[in-house]
Amino acid sequence: MEKRITTPLTAEKVKDLRTGDTVLLSGVIYTARDAAHKRLCELLEKGEKLPFDPKDQVIYYVGPAPAKPGKVIGSAGPTTSYRMDAYAPALIREGLKGMIGKGKRSDEVRETMKECTAVYFGAIGGAGAVLANSIKKAEVIAYEDLGAEAIRRLEVEDMPLFVIMDCYGGNLYESGRKEYLESVKK
Protein backbone atom coordinates (compact mmCIF):
# COMPACT_ATOMS: atom_id res chain seq x y z
CA MET A 1 0.00 0.00 0.00
CA GLU A 2 1.20 3.53 -0.71
CA LYS A 3 1.09 5.85 2.30
CA ARG A 4 1.89 9.53 2.76
CA ILE A 5 3.60 10.28 6.05
CA THR A 6 4.71 13.55 7.58
CA THR A 7 7.27 13.92 10.39
CA PRO A 8 7.39 14.08 13.40
CA LEU A 9 6.90 10.34 13.29
CA THR A 10 4.81 9.44 16.31
CA ALA A 11 4.33 5.89 17.62
CA GLU A 12 0.78 6.05 16.22
CA LYS A 13 2.10 6.64 12.70
CA VAL A 14 4.72 3.89 13.09
CA LYS A 15 2.07 1.39 14.14
CA ASP A 16 0.22 2.06 10.91
CA LEU A 17 3.18 1.02 8.74
CA ARG A 18 3.71 -2.52 7.52
CA THR A 19 6.64 -4.25 5.86
CA GLY A 20 6.29 -3.87 2.07
CA ASP A 21 4.34 -0.58 2.19
CA THR A 22 5.58 2.15 -0.14
CA VAL A 23 5.79 5.50 1.59
CA LEU A 24 6.11 9.12 0.49
CA LEU A 25 7.77 10.91 3.40
CA SER A 26 7.58 14.66 3.99
CA GLY A 27 8.82 16.97 6.73
CA VAL A 28 12.06 17.37 8.68
CA ILE A 29 14.57 14.52 8.93
CA TYR A 30 18.21 14.37 10.08
CA THR A 31 21.29 12.84 8.43
CA ALA A 32 23.99 10.86 10.21
CA ARG A 33 26.54 8.20 9.24
CA ASP A 34 29.21 6.22 11.10
CA ALA A 35 31.33 9.08 12.45
CA ALA A 36 28.35 11.19 13.58
CA HIS A 37 26.71 8.19 15.26
CA LYS A 38 29.89 7.54 17.18
CA ARG A 39 29.84 11.10 18.51
CA LEU A 40 26.11 11.02 19.31
CA CYS A 41 26.53 7.86 21.35
CA GLU A 42 29.54 9.27 23.19
CA LEU A 43 27.35 12.22 24.22
CA LEU A 44 24.61 9.87 25.40
CA GLU A 45 27.11 7.90 27.47
CA LYS A 46 28.31 11.08 29.14
CA GLY A 47 24.69 12.10 29.72
CA GLU A 48 25.09 15.22 27.59
CA LYS A 49 22.59 16.88 25.27
CA LEU A 50 22.47 15.82 21.61
CA PRO A 51 22.59 18.39 18.77
CA PHE A 52 18.93 17.55 18.08
CA ASP A 53 16.23 15.84 20.13
CA PRO A 54 15.71 12.38 18.60
CA LYS A 55 12.19 12.06 20.03
CA ASP A 56 9.78 11.13 17.20
CA GLN A 57 12.45 11.89 14.61
CA VAL A 58 13.86 10.07 11.61
CA ILE A 59 17.57 9.63 10.80
CA TYR A 60 18.65 9.18 7.19
CA TYR A 61 21.90 7.27 6.75
CA VAL A 62 23.46 9.38 4.02
CA GLY A 63 26.62 11.24 3.17
CA PRO A 64 25.52 13.48 0.32
CA ALA A 65 27.68 14.69 -2.55
CA PRO A 66 28.45 18.44 -2.45
CA ALA A 67 25.72 20.71 -3.85
CA LYS A 68 26.36 22.17 -7.29
CA PRO A 69 25.74 25.93 -7.52
CA GLY A 70 21.99 26.58 -7.48
CA LYS A 71 21.18 23.17 -5.96
CA VAL A 72 20.02 22.44 -2.41
CA ILE A 73 22.18 19.34 -2.05
CA GLY A 74 24.21 16.92 -4.17
CA SER A 75 23.15 13.34 -4.90
CA ALA A 76 21.84 11.81 -1.69
CA GLY A 77 21.03 8.10 -1.64
CA PRO A 78 21.28 5.79 1.38
CA THR A 79 24.42 4.16 2.73
CA THR A 80 24.54 0.59 4.07
CA SER A 81 22.88 0.53 7.48
CA TYR A 82 24.65 -2.30 9.31
CA ARG A 83 27.56 0.00 10.13
CA MET A 84 25.15 1.96 12.37
CA ASP A 85 23.81 -1.14 14.14
CA ALA A 86 26.12 -0.73 17.12
CA TYR A 87 24.71 2.76 17.77
CA ALA A 88 21.07 2.58 16.67
CA PRO A 89 19.55 0.89 19.76
CA ALA A 90 20.74 3.69 22.08
CA LEU A 91 19.13 6.31 19.83
CA ILE A 92 15.89 4.33 19.50
CA ARG A 93 15.73 4.21 23.30
CA GLU A 94 16.03 8.01 23.26
CA GLY A 95 12.85 8.18 21.18
CA LEU A 96 14.12 7.88 17.58
CA LYS A 97 11.22 6.46 15.58
CA GLY A 98 12.54 5.98 12.07
CA MET A 99 15.72 5.11 10.19
CA ILE A 100 16.27 5.33 6.44
CA GLY A 101 19.00 3.28 4.83
CA LYS A 102 19.65 0.13 2.86
CA GLY A 103 20.59 -3.42 3.74
CA LYS A 104 20.32 -5.79 6.67
CA ARG A 105 20.07 -4.88 10.37
CA SER A 106 21.20 -6.81 13.45
CA ASP A 107 18.82 -8.79 15.66
CA GLU A 108 19.47 -6.31 18.43
CA VAL A 109 18.27 -3.41 16.29
CA ARG A 110 15.16 -5.35 15.27
CA GLU A 111 14.35 -6.26 18.86
CA THR A 112 14.77 -2.66 19.99
CA MET A 113 12.52 -1.50 17.14
CA LYS A 114 9.80 -3.87 18.34
CA GLU A 115 10.23 -2.89 21.95
CA CYS A 116 10.19 0.87 21.31
CA THR A 117 7.89 1.03 18.24
CA ALA A 118 10.28 2.15 15.51
CA VAL A 119 10.44 1.55 11.77
CA TYR A 120 13.24 0.96 9.24
CA PHE A 121 12.65 2.42 5.80
CA GLY A 122 14.58 1.53 2.66
CA ALA A 123 15.53 4.14 0.11
CA ILE A 124 16.78 2.94 -3.24
CA GLY A 125 20.55 2.54 -3.07
CA GLY A 126 22.20 4.16 -6.05
CA ALA A 127 19.25 6.43 -6.85
CA GLY A 128 21.00 9.45 -5.32
CA ALA A 129 20.14 11.93 -8.06
CA VAL A 130 16.38 11.26 -7.85
CA LEU A 131 16.37 11.20 -4.05
CA ALA A 132 18.17 14.56 -3.93
CA ASN A 133 15.26 16.06 -5.87
CA SER A 134 12.90 15.30 -2.97
CA ILE A 135 15.12 17.32 -0.59
CA LYS A 136 13.93 20.91 -0.48
CA LYS A 137 16.21 22.34 2.20
CA ALA A 138 19.47 21.23 3.79
CA GLU A 139 21.41 22.77 6.64
CA VAL A 140 24.42 21.48 8.59
CA ILE A 141 23.53 21.57 12.30
CA ALA A 142 26.51 19.76 13.84
CA TYR A 143 29.98 18.31 13.20
CA GLU A 144 30.77 20.43 10.18
CA ASP A 145 34.35 19.09 10.40
CA LEU A 146 33.04 15.70 9.24
CA GLY A 147 32.26 17.05 5.75
CA ALA A 148 29.85 14.67 3.98
CA GLU A 149 29.34 12.95 7.34
CA ALA A 150 28.18 16.09 9.21
CA ILE A 151 24.68 16.08 10.72
CA ARG A 152 22.23 17.86 8.45
CA ARG A 153 18.65 18.91 9.00
CA LEU A 154 16.73 18.18 5.80
CA GLU A 155 13.28 19.18 4.69
CA VAL A 156 11.93 16.55 2.35
CA GLU A 157 8.84 16.35 0.20
CA ASP A 158 7.37 13.06 -0.96
CA MET A 159 10.61 11.18 -0.53
CA PRO A 160 10.06 7.72 -2.10
CA LEU A 161 10.70 4.96 0.47
CA PHE A 162 9.51 1.48 1.31
CA VAL A 163 9.11 -0.17 4.70
CA ILE A 164 11.74 -2.88 5.16
CA MET A 165 11.22 -3.62 8.86
CA ASP A 166 8.09 -2.63 10.76
CA CYS A 167 7.54 -2.47 14.51
CA TYR A 168 5.96 -5.95 14.51
CA GLY A 169 9.14 -7.80 13.53
CA GLY A 170 8.35 -7.90 9.79
CA ASN A 171 11.36 -8.03 7.48
CA LEU A 172 10.95 -7.45 3.75
CA TYR A 173 14.33 -9.02 2.98
CA GLU A 174 12.92 -12.32 4.23
CA SER A 175 9.23 -12.08 3.36
CA GLY A 176 9.61 -10.35 -0.03
CA ARG A 177 12.07 -12.92 -1.25
CA LYS A 178 10.03 -15.81 0.10
CA GLU A 179 6.80 -14.59 -1.48
CA TYR A 180 8.52 -13.93 -4.79
CA LEU A 181 10.05 -17.43 -4.86
CA GLU A 182 6.65 -18.94 -4.07
CA SER A 183 5.08 -16.91 -6.87
CA VAL A 184 7.48 -18.34 -9.48
CA LYS A 185 7.03 -21.90 -8.24
CA LYS A 186 3.34 -21.82 -9.06
Partner: protein, 279 residues
Protein backbone atom coordinates in the same frame (compact mmCIF):
# COMPACT_ATOMS: atom_id res chain seq x y z
CA UNK B 1 58.62 6.98 -29.32
CA UNK B 2 55.56 9.06 -28.52
CA UNK B 3 55.73 11.90 -26.01
CA UNK B 4 52.75 12.43 -23.69
CA UNK B 5 52.74 15.25 -21.18
CA UNK B 6 51.71 14.83 -17.57
CA UNK B 7 49.36 17.81 -18.01
CA UNK B 8 47.41 15.98 -20.72
CA UNK B 9 47.03 12.96 -18.45
CA UNK B 10 45.75 15.18 -15.65
CA UNK B 11 43.15 16.86 -17.82
CA UNK B 12 41.85 13.58 -19.26
CA UNK B 13 41.53 12.03 -15.79
CA UNK B 14 39.76 15.14 -14.51
CA UNK B 15 37.18 14.82 -17.28
CA UNK B 16 36.79 11.04 -16.94
CA UNK B 17 36.14 11.32 -13.17
CA UNK B 18 33.22 13.66 -13.80
CA UNK B 19 31.81 11.82 -16.80
CA UNK B 20 32.10 8.36 -15.24
CA UNK B 21 30.07 9.55 -12.25
CA UNK B 22 27.20 10.93 -14.34
CA UNK B 23 27.08 8.76 -17.46
CA UNK B 24 26.50 5.06 -16.98
CA UNK B 25 27.89 2.68 -19.64
CA UNK B 26 25.30 1.82 -22.33
CA UNK B 27 25.49 -1.93 -21.70
CA UNK B 28 24.40 -1.45 -18.06
CA UNK B 29 21.55 0.84 -19.09
CA UNK B 30 20.44 -1.71 -21.65
CA UNK B 31 20.56 -4.56 -19.15
CA UNK B 32 18.45 -2.65 -16.62
CA UNK B 33 15.87 -1.77 -19.27
CA UNK B 34 15.58 -5.43 -20.33
CA UNK B 35 15.29 -6.63 -16.74
CA UNK B 36 12.56 -4.12 -16.04
CA UNK B 37 10.55 -5.53 -18.94
CA UNK B 38 10.95 -9.14 -17.83
CA UNK B 39 10.71 -8.64 -14.05
CA UNK B 40 7.53 -10.24 -12.69
CA UNK B 41 7.65 -8.98 -9.09
CA UNK B 42 5.82 -5.68 -8.71
CA UNK B 43 7.95 -3.81 -6.17
CA UNK B 44 11.07 -5.03 -8.03
CA UNK B 45 9.73 -3.61 -11.29
CA UNK B 46 8.96 -0.27 -9.63
CA UNK B 47 12.45 -0.07 -8.17
CA UNK B 48 14.05 -0.77 -11.56
CA UNK B 49 11.88 2.02 -12.95
CA UNK B 50 13.19 4.49 -10.35
CA UNK B 51 16.75 3.34 -11.07
CA UNK B 52 16.23 4.07 -14.78
CA UNK B 53 14.74 7.47 -13.98
CA UNK B 54 17.77 8.17 -11.80
CA UNK B 55 20.19 7.56 -14.70
CA UNK B 56 18.32 10.11 -16.79
CA UNK B 57 18.33 12.76 -14.06
CA UNK B 58 22.06 12.23 -13.48
CA UNK B 59 22.83 12.47 -17.18
CA UNK B 60 20.60 15.46 -17.90
CA UNK B 61 21.62 17.50 -14.85
CA UNK B 62 25.23 16.23 -14.99
CA UNK B 63 25.11 15.23 -11.31
CA UNK B 64 26.46 11.99 -9.83
CA UNK B 65 24.30 8.89 -10.31
CA UNK B 66 25.08 7.93 -6.72
CA UNK B 67 26.37 10.06 -3.84
CA UNK B 68 29.09 7.50 -3.19
CA UNK B 69 31.28 8.68 -6.01
CA UNK B 70 33.72 6.07 -4.85
CA UNK B 71 37.43 5.71 -4.64
CA UNK B 72 38.91 6.51 -8.05
CA UNK B 73 40.35 3.35 -9.57
CA UNK B 74 42.60 4.43 -12.43
CA UNK B 75 43.88 1.85 -14.91
CA UNK B 76 46.71 2.85 -17.23
CA UNK B 77 47.72 0.69 -20.16
CA UNK B 78 50.98 2.28 -21.16
CA UNK B 79 52.39 1.48 -24.57
CA UNK B 80 56.06 0.53 -24.30
CA UNK B 81 56.90 3.16 -26.92
CA UNK B 82 55.37 5.98 -24.90
CA UNK B 83 57.46 8.47 -22.95
CA UNK B 84 55.72 10.48 -20.26
CA UNK B 85 57.04 13.98 -19.60
CA UNK B 86 56.58 14.82 -15.94
CA UNK B 87 55.61 12.92 -12.81
CA UNK B 88 53.00 10.27 -13.68
CA UNK B 89 51.85 9.52 -10.12
CA UNK B 90 51.34 13.22 -9.40
CA UNK B 91 49.61 13.77 -12.74
CA UNK B 92 47.06 11.04 -11.96
CA UNK B 93 46.32 12.30 -8.45
CA UNK B 94 46.04 15.87 -9.71
CA UNK B 95 43.45 14.69 -12.25
CA UNK B 96 41.45 13.01 -9.50
CA UNK B 97 41.79 16.06 -7.24
CA UNK B 98 40.52 18.41 -9.95
CA UNK B 99 37.78 16.05 -11.15
CA UNK B 100 36.35 15.48 -7.67
CA UNK B 101 36.65 19.11 -6.60
CA UNK B 102 35.49 20.86 -9.79
CA UNK B 103 32.84 18.19 -10.40
CA UNK B 104 31.25 18.50 -6.93
CA UNK B 105 31.87 14.81 -6.28
CA UNK B 106 32.01 13.35 -2.78
CA UNK B 107 35.41 12.99 -1.18
CA UNK B 108 35.38 9.53 0.36
CA UNK B 109 39.03 8.70 0.96
CA UNK B 110 40.71 8.65 4.39
CA UNK B 111 44.46 9.05 4.67
CA UNK B 112 45.03 6.23 7.12
CA UNK B 113 42.87 3.11 7.46
CA UNK B 114 42.97 3.28 11.27
CA UNK B 115 43.34 6.98 11.97
CA UNK B 116 40.62 7.81 9.36
CA UNK B 117 41.09 11.49 8.56
CA UNK B 118 39.63 12.45 5.16
CA UNK B 119 42.20 13.55 2.58
CA UNK B 120 39.73 16.18 1.42
CA UNK B 121 40.19 15.73 -2.32
CA UNK B 122 39.56 12.01 -2.89
CA UNK B 123 43.24 11.32 -3.55
CA UNK B 124 45.17 9.14 -3.83
CA UNK B 125 43.79 7.23 -6.78
CA UNK B 126 43.99 3.45 -6.69
CA UNK B 127 46.46 3.28 -9.55
CA UNK B 128 47.03 0.19 -11.68
CA UNK B 129 49.63 0.29 -14.44
CA UNK B 130 50.40 -2.19 -17.13
CA UNK B 131 52.99 -2.03 -19.90
CA UNK B 132 51.55 -3.08 -23.27
CA UNK B 133 52.91 -3.10 -26.84
CA UNK B 134 52.39 0.02 -28.96
CA UNK B 135 52.64 3.79 -28.56
CA UNK B 136 49.29 4.63 -26.98
CA UNK B 137 48.19 5.32 -23.45
CA UNK B 138 44.75 4.00 -22.49
CA UNK B 139 43.24 5.52 -19.37
CA UNK B 140 40.22 4.03 -17.60
CA UNK B 141 38.63 5.67 -14.57
CA UNK B 142 36.32 3.48 -12.52
CA UNK B 143 34.83 5.13 -9.42
CA UNK B 144 34.16 2.23 -7.03
CA UNK B 145 31.53 2.45 -4.29
CA UNK B 146 32.15 0.65 -1.04
CA UNK B 147 28.66 -0.64 -0.33
CA UNK B 148 29.47 -3.28 -2.92
CA UNK B 149 33.25 -3.39 -2.38
CA UNK B 150 32.64 -4.38 1.27
CA UNK B 151 30.62 -7.42 0.14
CA UNK B 152 33.46 -8.80 -1.99
CA UNK B 153 35.47 -11.87 -0.96
CA UNK B 154 38.49 -13.98 -1.83
CA UNK B 155 39.22 -17.61 -1.10
CA UNK B 156 42.15 -19.93 -1.75
CA UNK B 157 40.34 -23.07 -2.91
CA UNK B 158 42.04 -26.45 -3.27
CA UNK B 159 42.54 -27.77 -6.81
CA UNK B 160 40.25 -30.67 -5.85
CA UNK B 161 37.41 -28.18 -5.14
CA UNK B 162 37.32 -27.66 -8.91
CA UNK B 163 34.58 -25.89 -10.84
CA UNK B 164 31.93 -26.93 -8.31
CA UNK B 165 33.91 -25.25 -5.53
CA UNK B 166 34.17 -22.08 -7.63
CA UNK B 167 30.40 -22.06 -8.24
CA UNK B 168 29.68 -22.59 -4.57
CA UNK B 169 31.96 -19.75 -3.48
CA UNK B 170 30.45 -17.28 -5.98
CA UNK B 171 26.90 -18.15 -4.85
CA UNK B 172 27.83 -17.95 -1.17
CA UNK B 173 29.37 -14.52 -1.64
CA UNK B 174 26.27 -13.17 -3.40
CA UNK B 175 23.97 -14.77 -0.81
CA UNK B 176 25.92 -13.23 2.08
CA UNK B 177 25.84 -9.83 0.39
CA UNK B 178 22.04 -9.97 0.09
CA UNK B 179 20.55 -6.48 -0.13
CA UNK B 180 23.72 -4.64 1.00
CA UNK B 181 25.55 -3.97 -2.30
CA UNK B 182 22.53 -2.24 -3.92
CA UNK B 183 21.37 -5.03 -6.23
CA UNK B 184 20.99 -5.51 -9.14
CA UNK B 185 24.71 -6.18 -9.05
CA UNK B 186 27.47 -6.97 -11.51
CA UNK B 187 29.68 -9.82 -10.35
CA UNK B 188 33.37 -9.73 -11.28
CA UNK B 189 35.23 -13.01 -10.75
CA UNK B 190 38.97 -13.66 -10.94
CA UNK B 191 40.17 -17.26 -11.04
CA UNK B 192 43.81 -18.36 -10.87
CA UNK B 193 47.09 -16.48 -10.49
CA UNK B 194 48.13 -15.71 -6.92
CA UNK B 195 46.18 -14.27 -3.98
CA UNK B 196 46.60 -10.70 -5.26
CA UNK B 197 46.33 -11.48 -8.98
CA UNK B 198 42.95 -13.15 -8.50
CA UNK B 199 41.63 -9.99 -6.83
CA UNK B 200 42.98 -7.81 -9.62
CA UNK B 201 41.41 -10.07 -12.26
CA UNK B 202 38.06 -9.78 -10.48
CA UNK B 203 38.28 -5.99 -10.55
CA UNK B 204 39.35 -6.02 -14.21
CA UNK B 205 36.40 -8.28 -15.02
CA UNK B 206 34.17 -5.38 -13.95
CA UNK B 207 35.73 -3.18 -16.65
CA UNK B 208 34.57 -5.51 -19.43
CA UNK B 209 31.25 -4.76 -21.13
CA UNK B 210 28.50 -6.94 -19.67
CA UNK B 211 27.42 -7.69 -23.25
CA UNK B 212 30.68 -9.53 -23.96
CA UNK B 213 31.27 -13.08 -22.70
CA UNK B 214 34.65 -14.66 -21.92
CA UNK B 215 36.36 -15.91 -25.12
CA UNK B 216 36.95 -19.33 -23.59
CA UNK B 217 33.76 -21.36 -23.93
CA UNK B 218 34.19 -23.10 -20.56
CA UNK B 219 34.23 -19.71 -18.83
CA UNK B 220 31.56 -18.16 -21.05
CA UNK B 221 29.24 -21.02 -20.10
CA UNK B 222 30.18 -20.59 -16.45
CA UNK B 223 29.27 -16.89 -16.68
CA UNK B 224 25.84 -17.76 -18.09
CA UNK B 225 25.22 -20.53 -15.59
CA UNK B 226 26.20 -18.41 -12.60
CA UNK B 227 23.98 -15.53 -13.74
CA UNK B 228 21.06 -17.90 -13.91
CA UNK B 229 21.84 -19.44 -10.52
CA UNK B 230 22.29 -16.05 -8.85
CA UNK B 231 19.01 -14.77 -10.24
CA UNK B 232 17.27 -17.94 -9.04
CA UNK B 233 18.18 -16.91 -5.47
CA UNK B 234 15.30 -14.41 -5.62
CA UNK B 235 17.10 -11.62 -3.72
CA UNK B 236 15.86 -9.10 -6.29
CA UNK B 237 16.55 -5.37 -6.74
CA UNK B 238 17.46 -3.84 -3.38
CA UNK B 239 16.73 -7.21 -1.78
CA UNK B 240 12.95 -6.88 -1.89
CA UNK B 241 12.55 -10.11 -3.85
CA UNK B 242 12.46 -10.59 -7.61
CA UNK B 243 14.18 -12.05 -10.63
CA UNK B 244 16.78 -9.29 -11.03
CA UNK B 245 19.59 -9.87 -8.54
CA UNK B 246 22.50 -9.63 -10.99
CA UNK B 247 22.84 -8.03 -14.42
CA UNK B 248 25.89 -10.05 -15.42
CA UNK B 249 28.72 -12.27 -14.24
CA UNK B 250 32.08 -11.47 -15.83
CA UNK B 251 34.91 -13.93 -15.24
CA UNK B 252 38.63 -13.51 -15.95
CA UNK B 253 41.18 -16.27 -15.48
CA UNK B 254 44.92 -16.86 -15.67
CA UNK B 255 47.46 -19.65 -15.07
CA UNK B 256 48.10 -20.63 -11.47
CA UNK B 257 50.25 -22.93 -9.29
CA UNK B 258 49.80 -26.74 -9.26
CA UNK B 259 48.76 -26.52 -5.60
CA UNK B 260 46.21 -23.71 -5.80
CA UNK B 261 42.86 -22.43 -7.07
CA UNK B 262 42.48 -18.80 -5.96
CA UNK B 263 39.02 -17.30 -6.54
CA UNK B 264 38.10 -13.67 -5.96
CA UNK B 265 34.60 -12.23 -6.23
CA UNK B 266 34.42 -8.45 -6.61
CA UNK B 267 30.86 -7.20 -6.39
CA UNK B 268 29.75 -4.05 -8.13
CA UNK B 269 26.39 -2.32 -7.75
CA UNK B 270 24.13 -1.34 -10.63
CA UNK B 271 26.02 1.96 -10.68
CA UNK B 272 28.77 0.05 -12.49
CA UNK B 273 30.83 3.02 -13.61
CA UNK B 274 33.87 3.11 -15.85
CA UNK B 275 34.98 5.37 -18.66
CA UNK B 276 38.02 5.27 -20.89
CA UNK B 277 40.05 7.47 -23.22
CA UNK B 278 43.10 6.85 -25.40
CA UNK B 279 45.98 9.33 -25.73
Amino acid sequence: MKEISAEDITSVIRRLCMEANSYLPDDIKGKIATCRMTETWNLAKNILGVIEGNFSVAENDFVPICQDTGVACVFLEIGQDVHINGNLREAVDEGVRQGYTDGYLRKSVVKDPLDRVNTGDNTPAMLYTEIVPGDELKITVAPKGFGSENMSAIKMLKPSDGIEGVKKFILETVENAGPNPCPPIVVGVGIGGTFDKAALLAKKALMRSTDVRNEDKLYADLEEEMLEKINALGIGPQGVGGATTALAVNIEKMPTHIAGLPVAVNINCHVARHRSAVL
